[in-house]
């Protein structure tokens, strides 16, 4: 039977756009192998020194550690806060829940630069009271990241709650289970993948965060994206290219595996 198909013009434009999407990512690969210390093509002199740089240079190593610490703390905090909040809304169905959800999602919807300015002033004020958590400390950055990634954790946990059958919780409730028992014995075990997903997404978002980080750190708490930003702004350091290639490789493998599964995997459709 004749069907509505993709025409040649649309296919051609779509192919051009697809290439456009991948082009800058692939352009990084040759640059990462240059033997020079500035942005250039290898021109025959291939070298892996920028990759070695990544794991031997204390500057880069330290930034990787800062990013790991910030990401883990931000992910743990945001997942905990988001889990309590989502359970509160879902189990007790309070009045004004629409407004409360709106407030919780605010940092996700406001322009990042506005949030960044706000958090800058918040951490500056915090620095006046203590030296541990504040402007340009790794805990301060983690706190700022928590604000930014918590809305995403809330969304992920709400999605997994919406897939959970409320009748099970109602059964527990009718048999006299307290809120605490329902939470720990019934609801949380059933949404554990959602909680893990919220933690993972929070970590990844914090690991990648640059908009707010630029405002709330300067010389002490330099996360990996901030280090990349410095490497890009000052003299276009090819180490940034090497790092990009490493991340590109990991992401590509994951995406390709997933795409193979969704497009070629066994399905009954």
């Amino acid at each position: 039977m004749k069907m509505f198909r993709t025409g040649p013009v649309l296919t051609a434009i779509g192919a051009v756009v697809s290439v456009f999407l991948m082009l800058p990512l692939l352009a990084v690969v040759p640059i990462s192998f240059t033997s020079k210390r500035f942005l250039s093509m290898p021109n025959g002199n291939w070298s892996s020194k920028h990759y070695t740089n990544l794991i031997t240079d204390p500057i880069w190593l330290e930034s990787i550690l800062v990013s790991l610490k910030v990401g883990l703390v931000a992910a743990a905090l945001s997942t905990t806060l988001a889990l309590l909040f989502a359970l509160g809304i879902w189990m007790t169905r309070p009045r004004f829940s629409g407004t409360m959800i709106g407030v919780a999602l605010l940092p996700m919807m406001a322009p990042p630069v506005v949030s960044a300015l706000t958090l800058y002033f918040f951490l500056k004020d915090l620095s006046d009271i203590n030296s541990l958590v504040g402007y340009d400390t790794w805990l301060g950055v983690a706190l700022a990241h928590t604000v930014m990634v918590a809305p995403y954790a809330v969304v992920i946990i709400f999605v997994s709650l919406s897939a959970f059958d409320r009748k099970i919780d109602m059964a527990a409730r009718s048999m006299g289970a307290s809120v605490y028992t329902r939470m720990t014995q019934v609801v949380i075990p059933n949404i554990k993948f959602g909680i893990a997903g919220a933690f993972l997404l929070s970590f990844v978002l914090s690991w990648d965060e640059i908009g707010v980080t630029l405002f709330v750190s300067s010389v002490n708490a330099i996360t990996l994206p901030r280090r990349m930003w410095m490497g890009l702004r000052d003299n276009v350091d090819p180490t940034v290219a090497a790092l990009s290639v490493v991340i590109l490789t990991i992401v590509s493998i994951l995406i390709i595996l997933r795409a193979l599964h969704t497009n070629f995997g066994k399905r009954n459709t």
């Binding site: 069907m3 509505f4 198909r5 993709t6 025409g7 649309l10 296919t11 779509g14 192919a15 697809s18 999407l21 800058p24 990512l25 692939l26 352009a27 990084v28 640059i31 500035f38 093509m41 021109n43 988001a82 309590l84 909040f85 809304i89 007790t92 940092p107 406001a110 322009p111 506005v114 300015l117 706000t118 958090l119 800058y120 918040f122 004020d125 706190l143 700022a144 928590t146 604000v147 918590a150 809120v179 605490y180 990648d208 640059i210 405002f215 930003w229 890009l232 702004r233 940034v240 290219a241 990009s244 991340i247 590109l248 992401v251 995406i255 795409a259 193979l260 969704t262 497009n263 070629f264």
Partner: protein
């Protein structure tokens, strides 16, 4: 009742202290720094530099919105309606850039387009010499970088509206002898109208708050409103002005977000 408060209070309290109150501080600052009054706001419509920045922001954002929605439409079409191999390849081309950090992507464009970059090296090697041209450090660079960043975001609303099309409508049109082109323009595109508007609003809202791409690819020559806020905090301190710009940006983006949410709300009914 106690459980309700214990669950909801941590996240809401945290956001109140770390986000809402400091934002009120920003609002207050915009009216009090350097002197009491609304001069920070009035200079947004009287100062030539600021007017230029606002006009440039709109010009770039509208252009980027149009370009990325059209580009996203073609790749989404291929992604959903191509054969298995096409779907696989296009999915990889959409998802890999989506998960790669904005810094790596900006670096990719610098590496590709700068005068020592990949494109110029290739032109040189095939004999086109003498014109090392650079497309970065200009408005064109910013537009290319932003379009590249935003295409994957436009894909998702478009994909959901294309998936919602009833295949039988298209089959019926083929059965009644409509040409492929006519089906596309008179049936397919009108039926995805809500996706197109949703994608355009989303991309426009996102693009208004950008400052990483303009800062890295614009070379200080095409400052947009968000980058101006950054510069007014960290380079030429004019905190009151930066605060006022943030409030204006938030109000503007907020207006568009309300439109976006209203639209989605109607679709659910």
């Amino acid at each position: 009742m106690r459980a309700k408060i214990l669950l909801l209070a941590p996240l809401l309290g945290f956001l109140m202290i770390a986000y809402l109150l400091p934002f009120l501080g920003v609002v207050k600052l915009s009216f009090t720094d350097p002197i009491l009054g609304i001069n920070n706001y009035s200079s947004a419509v009287t100062d030539d530099l600021l007017i230029n920045v606002v006009i440039r922001t709109f010009r770039i954002c509208i252009l980027v919105t149009v370009l990325s929605v059209i580009a996203a439409y073609t790749v989404t079409f291929l992604w959903l309606r191509g054969n298995k191999m096409t779907r696989f390849l296009v999915e990889v081309c959409i998802m890999v850039p989506f998960w790669i950090s904005v810094l790596s992507r900006a670096f990719g464009w610098v590496g590709l387009l700068s005068n020592r970059g990949v494109l110029n090296s290739m032109l040189k090697s095939v004999g086109i010499d003498g014109l090392p041209f650079s497309m970065i450090n200009s408005e064109i660079g910013v537009i290319i970088g932003m379009t590249h960043f935003l295409i994957p975001f436009a894909v998702f609303p478009l994909a959901s509206s294309m998936k919602a099309i009833d295949e039988r409508v298209l089959t019926a049109a083929v059965g009644m002898g409509a040409s492929q082109r006519r089906i596309f323009w008179q049936i397919f595109v009108p039926m995805t109208k809500s996706g197109i508007i949703g994608a355009a609003l989303l991309v426009f809202v996102f693009s208004m708050g950008f400052y990483i791409m303009p800062a890295l690819l614009g070379g200080g020559k095409s400052v947009m409103i968000a980058e101006l806020i950054y510069l007014r905090i960290f380079q030429i301190p004019q905190w009151g002005l930066a605060a006022a710009m943030s409030v204006i940006l938030l109000a503007f983006v907020g207006g568009f977000l309300v439109m976006l949410i209203r639209r989605n709300g109607e679709e659910f009914k």
